[in-house]
Symmetry: C2
Subunit: 349 residues, 2 copies
């Protein structure tokens, strides 16, 4: 029997995860996936109670086929160190080097841009490297607290990780509209730039059917607004992927509909970590205004990666149907509550 | 007598600079600023002819009160090393630690966002640190070209530079709507984060009249689209400021109307470097489609910083008038040519 670890986490995490579990119960009924869920307690409360302890990430990997994560973030913990501990721990210790962040518009109403007049014009996937760059925590401080204070933050990029994520991006582009844009800042990063560009070119040779493009990250941040239709698949380092995916999510309705999948392309047993791009949104807790769709869509990405194609297709169809309707949470201009949207997805599956 | 160095540069640089010089001739006639201009030859052609030589930045500083820069960028020079040489050289060697990038909407027609329904909702200034971060060129490569290739890129942040830019941002906020947002990524940058946050808090104590806000850079990239009205002044490091200012420029019509000013707050003789945020746009060269307004607006920022208030006000009024009219370049939906827009500004001054 397979189990999926569920980490509801903080803030609206438990609220949206409750809807995912309802949807999963229906999927289970209809498709008999055989996937059981097991809730893990990691949250701000748990960390405040137990102290700043390491959690056993390898045990999570051993005991589960995937992780569904709600949200982690709590103002009581400075800079959400517990979030980095859990999310960063999973990504780095399980070598989840590929982070997929699809952005697809379902109805023009949800696009904030006046000049987008076909839903097909916003249909892109950001493929973010997920383990390196400034996220390695390498750096240091000289003369901290004095007028001579110097802080250094080191972005580390290895060919090993760049190859994995660039290859995954080319594969994905091949399965889509066959266009891949590399985003970097090689004009200001003389060390990381050549590595990304060199490996991108080298790997591109194996994908002559994929059209290649390149943008500096500042230009990419602009082009996402100016002409989203130019993007199919975008590959970027961890930091730029983080920034661009939050920005891009706005083009299709915002963080309420922004899912993500983090996986290790070489791990055939463990499917990865599936989580909404949004955070714990403390201001929405208890209001019923949280949109559960980003988490439901992340769950759907998990079904896909687990090879449960029929279940995945059914959830995708249900999400499309709900997104094209009027029963939506306030972030999408509706008045529905979190659980009403969840119920609707369940009925549509 | 004072002179201003003019570096037309590459691509559309000379075309838009020609319009700035026309506008300056009128300003000179009307206001008698006494500012002469002197054209400097630095461009891709010049570098290709002379080789990758250092240029004497201090001589530029000694001989001129300011620099007006068109654009630098040419596909023949990998990663535009000459652009970094000139622009980076000016910024770093002259300690132009403050980069102002104002974004102000003049007419709703130029805003791509459906939900913006008052021009006042897009009126912000990004204050970008301009000398440090990854732009210091510190980093290195281990085992380059082999499967074990590791590239490291170091962002350097000093209290000295952070204090200068944060103080400038607070001063600016005080002269505007008194709201300042710090953007960083302290949750993933344990060294740079505390420096920026600590200094921001310390300096904020001297500005109790300014409301302070903080966003992680990924959230800021989203919020610029979701709710631009929440921003008045934004302060950020060099890399994040670069990305966010390109993105933000789109909210008011794009790079065609995005000016910038780079200055050393402690240099009372030299006003700084004034340049459009856009690049050399090789595809527009010779088409007459280049928008000269970003350069004219940068020129206007120079007049302001030189204390030429009446001339500055006249150029600002002229720009506002032109932007609210119909005679505009194609990037703003018009059919006018570069020189027609320049002529219109001249008449309006
Ligand atoms: C919580 C934070 C460290 C994280 C990141 O920056 O990776 C988040 O923004 C994300 O995108 O998943
Ligand atoms: C040319 C490039 C190095 C430069 C930068 O990144 O600073 C440009 O994008 C800018 O914003 O002025």
């Amino acid at each position: 029997m397979s189990t999926v670890a569920v980490i509801p986490g903080d803030g609206i995490g438990p609220e949206v995860m409750a809807e995912v579990l309802k949807v999963h119960a229906v999927v289970e009924d209809v498709f008999g996936t055989g996937l059981k869920t097991e809730v893990l307690p990691y949250s701000a409360d748990w960390f405040l109670e137990h102290g700043d302890v390491e959690i056993d990430i390898q045990a999570i990997r051993r005991d589960h086929r995937a992780v569904l994560l709600g949200a982690l973030g709590d103002a009581r913990i400075p800079d959400n160190r517990h979030a980095i501990r859990v999310i960063g721990g999973l990504r780095q210790q399980l070598e989840l080097g590929v982070n997929l962040r699809p952005v697809r518009l379902r109805t023009l109403r949800h696009c904030p841009l006046k000049h987008v007049n076909a839903v097909e014009d916003v249909d892109l996937v950001i493929v973010r490297e997920n383990t390196e760059d400034v996220y390695v925590g390498v750096g240091g401080t000289v003369r901290g607290g004095s007028p001579g204070h110097v802080a250094m933050e080191v972005g580390v990029h290895t060919r090993w990780a760049v190859d994995r994520v660039v290859t995954a991006a080319f594969e994905l582009a091949r399965s889509r509209r066959r266009r891949l844009t590399l985003v970097d800042k090689s004009n200001a990063m003389p060390s990381a730039g050549p590595l990304w560009q060199g490996r991108f070119r080298a790997i591109a040779a194996s994908y002559p059917d994929v059209e290649c493009d390149h943008l500096y990250v500042d230009a990419a941040a602009m082009e996402l607004i100016r002409d989203p239709a130019r993007f199919d698949v975008v590959v970027a380092g961890n930091l730029f992927g983080d920034i661009l995916s939050d920005e891009a999510s706005m083009l299709a309705g915002g963080l309420g509909v922004a899912p993500s999948a983090s996986y290790n392309p070489d791990d055939t047993d463990f499917a990865g970590v599936f989580e909404a791009v949004h955070g714990s949104a403390p201001d929405l807790v208890g209001t019923g205004r949280a949109n559960p769709l980003a988490s439901v869509m992340s769950y759907s990405l998990m079904l896909d990666r687990l090879g449960l194609r029929a279940a995945h297709a059914a959830v995708e169809r249900a999400v499309d149907e709900v997104l094209c309707g009027d029963l939506l949470t306030p972030d999408l201009g509706g008045t529905a509550r979190t659980d009403e949207v969840g119920d609707l997805i369940c009925r549509a599956v």
